[in-house]
Amino acid sequence: MIYVVLPFFCKGQKHDTLQNVEVISKKNIIITIASTPVQLLNTTDASKTNSVTVADALKHFAGVMVKDYGGIGGLKTVSVRSLGANHTGILYDGIALGDAQGGQIDLGKFSLDNIAQIELYNGGPFEILSPAKAFSYGSLLMLKTIASSKTDTEKKIANVKVQYGSFGYFSPSISYKQHVGKKVETSLNAMFQSAESQYPFTSYENNNVTQKRKNSDIKAYRLEYDASLTMHDSNKISVKTYYYKSERGLPGAIILYNNINSERLTDRNFFLQSNWHNKLSKKSELLVNAKYAADQNYYIDPSFLNTAGKLENEFSSKEFYLSAAYSYKINNFFKISFSSDALNNRLKRTDSFAVNFANPSRNSLLNNVAFQLKKTRFEVTGNILHTLINEKVSNGKAGRNINAFSKAFAMGFQPIKNVPLRVRAFYKHIFRAPTFNDLYYTNVGNTNLKPEYADQLNVGLTYSEQRLDFLKNILVTVDAFLNTVNDKIIAVPTINLFQWSVQNIGKVNAQGIDVAVQIKTKEWRDVQLSAHVAYSFQHVLDVSDKNSSLYKTQLPYTPKHSGSSTFSIEYKRAILNYNIIFSSLRYKQGDAIFVNLLQPWNTNDVSFSYLIGKNYPNNYKIIFEANNIFNTTYDIIQYYPMPGFNYRIALNILLKKTKTII
């Protein structure tokens, strides 16, 4: 079937000219010289981590906590250094994903099949020529798709991947990229995913009994179309269209002595975005971004005990976004940039149960000034961001207007010439605006909310060596941080548990250390070893209320120790990987007492891949993944059991037709 779709491919063409070595070293350079911590994972690395989604891959990053509610369709949000998921911004091919409604994007929706690179920045973006929005988050996750990555040599390239796995997991995907003439490149990506996800877990009532997760199925598909026009090397316009739809069961927490659940969720996400990057002169560059996004989510509880016999929630939101950024090189080592973003976000509740919903519309204007002073052994960057937010509602009272400055400064230097050790430090003061849910959620929302502030302080060391006897490279980063979150927005019950209210009452002090080590050996008799180890220590205290018994206790679901490691052996065309992820004990919400303790866990995964036709344009890769091989029983969130042992088999077919043939 695949060959019918792609009849124009032929075998035995020119050798693959992709320079893996260069890619890796460039990546290491960014990690090493950046004044703020940066973690990168490219397709090759990600494929070693037994990951299906971006959320799975992020479990291998230092300082990242993935709240995973289990299963393919289970919610997966990411909190970096205990700032909370709302402080993580996600840029998809350079433009922020909308987050006005809930502020916590489910990273389980992003499968890795079309992701070329995952980049995580503590603080701000690496490039100061970035949209103002990119500076507006506590940490920044950049997802770069295959479509946006450079492939100069191939005239036509197609990648077909079929995955099949435990618990009814099936996911075919295809990417096709084509050059039209010398200037135009188009690409299409399609992914379908379905899973029953009725995985077994050990009963909470009785250790000797195995139960199955119910109502946890998902069907999802994604379509992406990209086109770009390159006028000349330094002037490129690209357009992306994205559509994602999923329909899933919400299995909810396991309820003791009861296993009935029938809630469903349907998501639709559409966006059209465009990006124009133009090097106007040797000194100045322009970056223009525009986006229109329309999202819809529909929730139904068909067994709700009201007269209608069901509960529905349907929200639709829209975003209009325009951004312009300009940078100017004053001299060889000093660069400034200015960026200005305008956004409009709207949310409407459209179900029959909607009563007097605010239907808010929010205008945001972000202006950012940044500078970068860069010498070989010394770098200072900084930015000041001004945010103006005002809001209108069709019912009730609108949320507060926001008019605030925030700032970040970072510096890095290499103390000793010829010693590849760098010292770095950064400070960032930023806030996240209350989301529409925080402000307007029926009966719970609070329009008096102020922004939630996060302050980050980081000092660190990076060491990168490329010329050791047996090692190809070694990269070590160690960072210590001190974060505080003030006016943290949390929902609390008021007079009783029927009545919750969202309030700015939280305060969090976080201290921690992130360590990451990457080692790769030189090839020896076709054998190459590599390892990636990440470790985080986090001492995160709830300092909200002196009179509460929770005062100065570790934040719920925050392990003190967590980490991951990936070990790989490559021999000719085969790669064997071993992954470990671990988390120390942590408490669920409540007093720091034994009954609220969640046990430490670790999972061990093995994967094996074999490439046929390594040196040819058309090649075939077969991947076997065995996940949680010791069948560890664990919850990341209590009563949301994680899958035990499971496997996946994937077949990846890469077909290329190079320019030289034409």
Binding site: Y204, L256, N258, N443, D591, I593
Partner: protein
């Protein structure tokens, strides 16, 4: 939460202040000896799956926080999810597990597990809420608009009575069952009725209009009914309605001084709590004389952060108030004399959000 006895005379024994009077010439008040309590069971609803039953031993002033686990090592997972109500009737404790959709029956003497009664019907959760007992049966309201009748010998549901939308609290008089229909799931179109159920036929006789979104129901010595209602949590305040138990025709809203969502009556004395739009722990009201005894029950400096359950030891008039605090950390129970002065208090850790206190005698 209402641990009720049908013998009205028993209730009348608590003569606080001068409140204990014959208010109805046809009622003969007979003082009955009540055995002093030796301890108290406290139910803490908790959050998902962590309902706890604690036991307070009065003689040595000790608490066993997870008494259920201690007494039932074969059930390590505990009672289940969201224990909403508990009554002691005969020799058994009935614990209404709202989210687990079971009523768990325990031996009242030692909290040893006897049976789980399922509240799942046709694959749908009924959502059991509150329980009361009368004539040898236990009546449990469920959010699916019914009251289930439990045979206390068979420990089975023997009958299901259809009432109004999303019933909450209920109480029995000599001949009738009064069930508050909240309609809470039809937000914002709350119900505002009490279903009058004939205990002989176990059928709804009619609905009596009360305040919006009714919640708790209780009865005084004379057999008159008081219904507390939430209102709509914003523009329409909480309220208390009065139903004459002799006529059961209509209700009287007691007015703006009664903006409380919870009511607990012992004899003729009503404790109103969960004050809307004001401070204070509980208001003390004489239902027979229709007069307030105290605007604030507590007379010393004791502070209850979130009064979430209240019960009166009918033998000595002591008032036990459960404090849910922030609904996250361990709750406490404080015992006061009926003069509002604290006698003692105890933590129910690991119990969170305690909502009910039942006396063991």
């Amino acid at each position: 939460m209402n641990f009720r006895k049908t013998n009205l005379a028993v209730l009348s024994i608590v003569c606080l202040l001068n409140a204990c009077k014959k208010v109805d010439d046809t009622t003969i008040v007979l003082p009955v000896e009540i055995t002093p309590s030796v301890g108290a069971y406290v139910l803490s609803e908790g959050s998902t799956n962590n309902t706890k039953l604690s036991y307070y031993n009065k003689s040595n002033n000790t608490v066993i926080g997870d008494f259920f686990l201690q007494q039932n090592p074969s059930k390590p997972a505990g009672l289940g999810s969201i224990g909403n109500d508990m009554i002691l009737y005969g020799s058994k404790l009935y614990v209404v597990m709202n989210v687990s959709n079971i009523v768990t029956v325990l031996n009242a003497n030692n909290a040893v597990f006897i049976k789980d009664i399922s509240f799942v019907s046709g694959g749908v959760n009924k959502g059991p809420r509150y329980a009361t007992a009368a004539r040898g049966k236990v009546y449990v309201s469920s959010s699916d608009g019914t009251v289930s009748v439990i045979d206390t010998t068979l420990l089975n549901i023997t009958k299901t009575i259809t009432v109004g939308a999303n019933p909450e609290g209920l109480v029995a008089s000599a001949n009738f069952l009064y069930v508050a229909n909240s309609g809470g799931f039809n937000f914002p179109n709350y119900d505002s009725t009490v279903s009058l159920v004939d205990l002989n036929t176990e059928l709804e006789v009619r609905k009596i209009k009360v305040g919006l979104n009714p919640y708790k129901v209780d009865i005084n010595t004379a057999g008159n009914i008081f219904v507390s209602a939430y209102g709509n949590y914003s523009t329409i305040p909480a309220s208390i309605s009065f139903i004459n138990g002799a006529t059961n025709s209509s209700s009287i809203n007691l007015g703006s001084n009664f903006s409380y969502s919870n009511i607990r009556i012992s004899g003729d004395i009503a404790y109103l709590y969960n004050n809307y739009g004001g401070t204070g722990t509980a208001k003390v009201y004489n239902t027979a004389l229709n007069s307030f005894i105290r605007n604030e029950f507590i007379t010393d400096s004791t502070i209850i952060q979130t009064p979430y359950g209240l019960n009166i030891d009918e033998q000595n008039g002591d008032v036990y108030i459960a404090d849910a605090k922030n609904f996250i950390s361990a709750g406490t129970v404080t015992c006061f004399g009926n003069n509002g002065v604290k006698k003692f208090s105890f933590s129910v850790s690991p119990g969170v959000s305690p909502n009910n206190i039942i006396f063991k005698r």
